[in-house]
Structures are given as C-alpha cells and as structure tokens.
C-alpha cells in the first residue's frame, strides 16, 4: 500500500515526460495525414478523413524519389567505406602490441575530429570540393562522410573489440592463423554485434546530416532527404501537409534503426566513455 502511494508521483512525472516527448511526433504524423483544408480548419488531434495525398505529392511534385535515392546511395557507400577503413584501424589500436603512446594520441585525435562542429569544416570543404569539381555530386558527399565517420567507427569499434578476450585470438595464432586471418575468422564474428551497432549508428549519423549536404549540394541530382525537407520551407507559401509528410519520411527509418540499437545508445553517444 505504502509503496503504491509513493509510486504515484513517479508515474505522474513519467507520464508528463512521455506526453511532452511524444506529442510533437503525434502532431506531425496526424498533420501529414490531413487534407489541406483540415490542416487550416482547426486543431483536430485525429484526422477526420485520413489521406495519403501529402505523401504522393512528395514523390510526384517535390522530388522525394531522387532525394531518397541519393540518401540511400550516399549512406550505403559511406558506411561501408568507413567500416572498411575504421575497423582494421580499431583492431590495430586494441589488439596489436603498438606502443601505448601512439594508441592514446590516435584516440585523442579521433575524439577531436568527432567534436569539431560541422560549421567549422564546411567552408573549407566547400572550397576544396569546388576545386575538384565535386560540388553537387554524390561522390563528393560520400568522400566527406566516409572520412568523418571513420573516426566514429574507430572509437566505437575499439571499445567493442577491447572486450574480446585476448586468449581466443592467441589460440588462433598458435593454430597457424596470421593476424589478418585471425581478425577475419575469429575476432570479427565475435565482434559482430558491435559491428552491427556501429553500422547502425553510422547510418543514423550520416542519414541525419544536414549542414554538409546543404552546403555541398544544390539540385535534386545530389540533394539528400534532410536537404529535401528544408526545400519545402522558405518558399513564399509553406506547404504544411507535404512538409509534415516529409518530416515523417525523414524520421521513420531512423527511429526504427535507433530502436534496434537502443541498448548501445549510451556507448555510441559518449564514444565508449560511459557504458
């Protein structure tokens, strides 16, 4: 009885937090399902006549087909390339007898890169890409994201790899494996959950990026979903329905991915500093 009463303020606080956290989602999703007239007619919490017109409009008039294609292409290639570059480096930092000094310095540099606000980098990026004729190309975006995400992969993967007991790998070496085959045959399968989590975090980071894509691209040939979302704003008249639908398209895949890795969230966000 006493415990039950003591629980009331706790649950009241939690319910308030949940309502605050979830209401904006509800409002955006329901707006995306309303007709233009209903959006302006007042404050229905539920659409009276749900419609998918806003979503069709995105793909028919607002170029979301190309935006989606660009986003998927850029995300897939940058994530694969940065995993390919970052995982062996993380392995080298954790498992091989490199000097401790180098290891520490390398991780500090990687951490510094992660902490640089994007605005510090975009102006030089823009000038450099312009010099190489890579502005407004998917390849330009892939190169930038690959480089930036490699640091993230190194930090997170070394935190996962460091948890694999050394003995297992030593045994493989005794059995005649080389370092590389041991990495491929023994270490990577054991690190598979960490690799999966790292990949998903990378997908989220890259798919969600706005500033770099905004500055480096200018047409639907290379613009990604977040940039596409922003193109619906700033016109003289804001198309609220399609804008809400665009928000849903931009959010949905990422929310699903995020739920898959929520167990590793803290590690991903603090780069292994807190687990």
């Amino acid at each position: 009885m006493r415990a039950g009463l003591r629980g009331v303020p706790v649950y009241a606080g939690l319910v308030a937090a949940e309502v605050f956290a979830l209401f904006p989602f509800w409002w955006m999703i329901t707006t995306s399902l309303k007709h233009q007239v209903e959006i302006f007619s007042g404050l229905e919490l539920l659409p009276t006549a749900p419609t998918l017109d806003n979503f069709f409009a995105l793909f028919e008039t607002y170029n979301f087909g190309p935006f989606l294609f660009n986003s998927v292409t850029v995300v897939v290639f940058s994530v694969l390339l940065s995993l390919l570059l970052g995982t062996p480096a993380a392995y080298a930092l954790t498992k091989l007898p490199t000097e401790g000094w180098l290891q520490k310095q390398a991780l500090i540099v990687v951490l510094l890169v992660r902490m640089l606000p994007a605005i510090l980098l975009v102006i030089p990026f823009y000038i450099v890409l312009a010099n190489f004729q890579l502005l407004n190309t998917r390849i330009g975006l892939i190169l930038l994201y690959t480089g930036l995400n490699t640091g993230f992969v190194i930090w997170l993967m070394q935190s996962f790899l460091a948890e694999i007991p050394r003995d297992i790998e030593e045994a493989a070496l005794v059995d005649g494996d080389t370092r590389l085959t041991a990495l491929w045959r023994i270490v990577l399968p054991l690190a598979a959950p960490g690799l999966a989590a790292t990949s998903i975090f990378s997908v989220i980071n890259i798919y969600n990026d706005f500033l770099i894509a905004l500055t480096m691209t200018s047409t639907p040939e290379a613009q990604t979903i977040p940039v596409g979302v922003s193109t619906l704003i700033g016109k003289i008249q804001i198309q609220w329905g399609p804008m809400a639908a665009a928000g849903v398209v931009g959010a949905l895949p990422i929310v699903v991915f995020a739920l898959l890795v929520q167990r590793h969230f803290v590690r991903g966000l603090t780069l292994g500093a807190v687990k």
């Binding site: 706790v10 606080g13 939690l14 937090a17 949940e18 605050f20 956290a21 904006p24 989602f25 409002w27 955006m28 707006t31 302006f40 404050l43 940065s82 570059l85 970052g86 062996p88 480096a89 080298a92 091989l96 500090i108 540099v109 990687v110 951490l111 510094l112 890169v113 902490m115 640089l116 994007a118 605005i119 510090l120 980098l121 975009v122 102006i123 990026f125 000038i127 450099v128 480089g147 930036l148 640091g151 370092r179 590389l180 969600n208 706005f210 500033l211 977040p226 704003i233 809400a244 928000g247 931009g250 959010a251 990422i254 929310v255 803290v266 966000l269 603090t270 780069l271 807190v274 687990k275």
Partner: protein
C-alpha cells in the same frame, strides 16, 4: 614463409592504421589548415584575390552582429545545458528504480534525440506556426492570447531553447541513467540505514559519485550545442531580427550568402579556439571517466 609472416607482423599495426589516418587527416587537419590560410585571404565574389593579413579578424571582431551572435550562442548554450542537465538528472532518478515496463518508458523518452535535427525543426514549426500551429490555441486555454512564438525576439529565443530541451534532454537522461546504474549500492544503503533522508542521500552520496559522468555529459552536450545549426535554420533562420542568430547561422550566411569566405573563416578560427579549449577539458574528463581503459 616464416620471415614473411614476421615482417607483416611488425608492420601490421601501421599498415592497418594508415588508410584510416589518411582519411581522417583529409577531413580534419587538411580543411582546418586550409581554413586558417583562407582566413588571411581576401575574397571577392567567392574568389581568392589577395593576401589580407589580419584585416578579416579585425573586421570580424569589430562587427557588432558577430559579437551579438557569440553572445546569443553563449546564452543559448548555457540555458539549454542547465535545463537539460537538471531535467535529465531528474528523469534518470525517476526511471532508476523498479518500474513496470521500464524499457518502454525509456524508449518513449529517448525518441526525440533519434530524429534528424532538420525533422525536429519541422515538428516544432508545425507546433509554433501562427496559422496552423497548436502552440497559440494551447496558450489561449491558459488565458495567454496573441503570442506568436516565432514572431517576437524573446519568445522566438525561448521557443528554440524549448526545442533544444525537447531534443537533447534524452541524451542527458541516458548518460546519467547509465551513470546511476553503475553506482555501488552499499554506501547508499548504509546511509539509509543510518537514517539519512532521501535528499541527504542524494546530495551527500549520489551526486559526488555521479560527478565524473555528469561532467562528461555536460561537456559533450556543451560542445554539441555550440554547433547547433539545423533546427534553427529550419525554424527561424536566425530571426526575427537577429534574436536566434547563433554563431553557426551567422558564419553560414557570411560564407554562403555573402560569399565572404575569408571573414567567415576568421570567425570559424575564433570559434575553433574556444572549442579546442573546451575539447581539451572534455578529453581529459572522458579519459578519467568510468569505464575507460
């Protein structure tokens, strides 16, 4: 055969590190160096025309709008981080107990931080909009009329702060919850047995033990908040006037609207100095933090 393996063994770490190091340098050291060089060049119509010495820096530091943007950023960061830390800590304390459906509560709370900042901007525009938004009618229920959130300086500023609090309190919550869950239970139980009140236990035992994690969370959030761009760009573009013009928005406009790359880079170098100091503190704290090797 044996020699070959030994050779690859010795060179191994460097061979594995090299490609990643090159990629990282290409997107950090190179652009930063390039940027520092650009900050002492004079650009006209986006073209590098002459050496400018320190004139870009002088102009930037004499530019009232730049100073205002720095002040706005400082206010924004301070307000957001303080509110998010307090709310996040409170929420973490609420969730850190035996709860029915604990993981569901947690998922609901962390959902805001998973969404792209651009989408967050869209969500809050749909809420704040003076014609179709829900903020005005809701405030009307409480007798507050004719406040258009994005229409005046103070409310617009508070509006973007509220958005930031909505989006990033979950980050503080998650990190602090993880911190709370690793605290040893014995001292806390001993204090309770000694008759200490819940408040005393919190201030005398929980808070001191939580301090390293708290610092990590605050520094990470501070550095991220300094770079806030996407949500503001979508929500207000820095307006009305310059009331929500954070540093990043002003630097972006200077570079890509006014094509003053030299001045924009001077601004960026000044901010970089600030961020590096903060990052140095952060790195020290992260490495001293719990769970690191």
């Amino acid at each position: 055969m044996v020699r070959g393996r030994r050779a690859s063994f010795a060179a191994g770490p460097y061979v594995l590190l090299l490609p990643a190091a090159v990629a990282l340098a290409a997107v950090s050291i190179y652009p930063l160096a390039y940027g520092v060089v650009a900050s002492v060049r004079h650009y006209r119509y986006g073209l590098d025309v002459a050496y400018a010495g320190i004139t870009n820096y002088v102009q930037v530091l004499q530019d009232d709008t730049f100073i205002t943007a720095l002040e706005t950023t400082a206010k924004y960061v301070a307000l957001c981080v303080v509110i998010e830390t307090l709310l996040g800590l409170g929420l973490a304390m609420l969730v850190n107990r035996q709860l029915r459906g604990a993981s569901l509560w947690r998922i609901g709370i962390i959902l805001p931080m998973t969404v792209a900042p651009v989408v967050v901007g869209v969500m809050w525009r749909l809420i704040y909009a003076s014609d179709i938004g829900i903020a005005d009618p809701v405030m009307g229920l409480f007798g507050i009329h004719d406040v258009h959130v994005l229409g005046s300086d103070t409310t617009a500023f508070l509006g973007v702060v509220l958005l930031d609090v909505w989006e990033w309190t979950p980050l503080m919550f998650l990190i602090l919850l993880a911190g709370l869950q690793t605290l040893p239970q014995e001292p806390l139980e001993a204090a309770v047995i000694d008759g200490a009140s819940a408040i005393r236990v919190f201030f005398d035992h929980v808070l001191p033990m939580l301090r390293p994690v708290l610092f990590v969370a605050i520094v990470l959030r501070t550095i991220d908040a300094i770079g806030t761009f996407d949500q503001i760009y979508v929500l207000t573009r820095g307006g009305p006037g310059v009331s929500t013009q954070l540093f990043s928005i002003y630097a972006y406009n200077t570079a890509f609207l006014f094509t003053q790359y030299g001045q924009a880079m001077a601004m960026v170098v000044i901010l970089l100095a600030i961020v590096l100091v903060l990052a140095a503190i952060a790195i020290r704290l992260v490495r001293l933090g719990p769970g690191t090797r």
